[in-house]
Symmetry: C3
Subunit: 139 residues, 3 copies
Amino acid sequence: MPVHTSSIEFSTPGNSEILDITRDVQQKLSETRLREGLVTVFVPGSTGGVITLEYEPGLVRDLKEAFERIAPQGRPYHHDRTWNDGNGHSHVRASLVGPSLSVPFRDGRLILGTWQQIAFVDFDSRPRRRVLIIQVMGE
Amino acid sequence: MPVHTSSIEFSTPGNSEILDITRDVQQKLSETRLREGLVTVFVPGSTGGVITLEYEPGLVRDLKEAFERIAPQGRPYHHDRTWNDGNGHSHVRASLVGPSLSVPFRDGRLILGTWQQIAFVDFDSRPRRRVLIIQVMGE
Amino acid sequence: MPVHTSSIEFSTPGNSEILDITRDVQQKLSETRLREGLVTVFVPGSTGGVITLEYEPGLVRDLKEAFERIAPQGRPYHHDRTWNDGNGHSHVRASLVGPSLSVPFRDGRLILGTWQQIAFVDFDSRPRRRVLIIQVMGE
C-alpha cells in the first residue's frame, strides 16, 4: 500500500474565512491513481482548522457567528498579552475545531455526502498564505 | 496492507439523538480478520457527527444540553432562510463536532477505554435513514 | 506498509491540564524508522482529549477558560446524578474535543507548524495515570 504526501497552497483574507477545498483535495487524490483508502487533510499551523459543511452562503455566515460565540474576538486573551498580536481568539477557535480531517475514498472518489464539502477555516486575524498537507494512503 | 471499506445502515429519530454504534464498528472490524491497524468511521452527510463517550443516559442528556448551548435550536439561522428546512442548528452542530473518527485496533479489537463507546449523533431535525462508512486499514 | 502500535504513559493532575506530548509522539515515530505516513494519537478513555496548539502559558490559560465556558464545572450534570463522581463537565468537554488526532509525517518527522504542538488534555476532576496509544502507519 503506497502513501502519497503532497500539499495545496492558496491565499486567504483570514478572519474565520471558510474556503471550499473539496475540488483541490479530490484532484490530489486523482493524481495518485489510487482506488481505495484514506485521505488526511492537515493544517500545519495553530490558527487554522478543517471541517466539512454544506457549503452555501447562509451556513457559512452561521458558522462564523458560532465561532464568535465560542471564542469572541472582543474579549481579553492571555495569549495576546504574551505576543501582542491580537489573535488569541484565532488560536482558541483553531484548537477547538482541530487541524486534521480523515475522509475515506473508493473507486478513486472521496466518499462525501451530496451536500457535504471539505473546507479550510482561516481563523487568523490577518491575510495569510497557507499550505495544507494532503496525504493519501490506499491501494 | 489491505483496506476494507464497508458501511452500516440504520434509522434514527434525529434531534441530536446519540446512538451507540460500538458493536457495529467492532463487527465490521472482526469481519476483515485484520489484527492491527486503524478504523475510520465517517458520516457522508452534513448533519451528523461521530464522537466517543461513556454511553449512559445521564451523560447522553448532558451532551444534548451542551449541543443546545453551542447552537440553540430556537435562534434564527441564515441557512434556514436559504432552504427553509429549519435545520440550521443541525448543520452548525455537525460541522463543529465533525464527521470523522479514527480508532486504532490491535489483536483484532478496537482499542477503547472500558467506559468509552463510539456513537453517531444525528443532528438533523427529522427522522433519517443513515449510512455510515467503516473503513479498516491494517495487517 | 507496516503498522506499529505503541503507547506512552504519564501522570497528570487532571482539571483540564494541558500537556505538551509532541516530543513523546516524535520519539515513538522515530523508533519505527518509517519515513512517510500517518501517526494517530488516541486516548482510550472518556475524560481526555487530544488537540494541537501553540503551547505557551497564555494560550494554555485561554483554552482552559474556553473549556469552562463550553461546559462549566459548577452547573448540575445528569451524569453526576448517575455516578456521583462529580466529573460530568469532564465527560462533556472530552466528547466535544475528541479522543483522536491524525498527523502526517515525511522524512521521519511529524509535519507540524513551527508554533504548533500536540497536547493531551486531561479533563478529569482528579489526578490520573494516563496511557495514550501512538499508532504509526507508513513506509
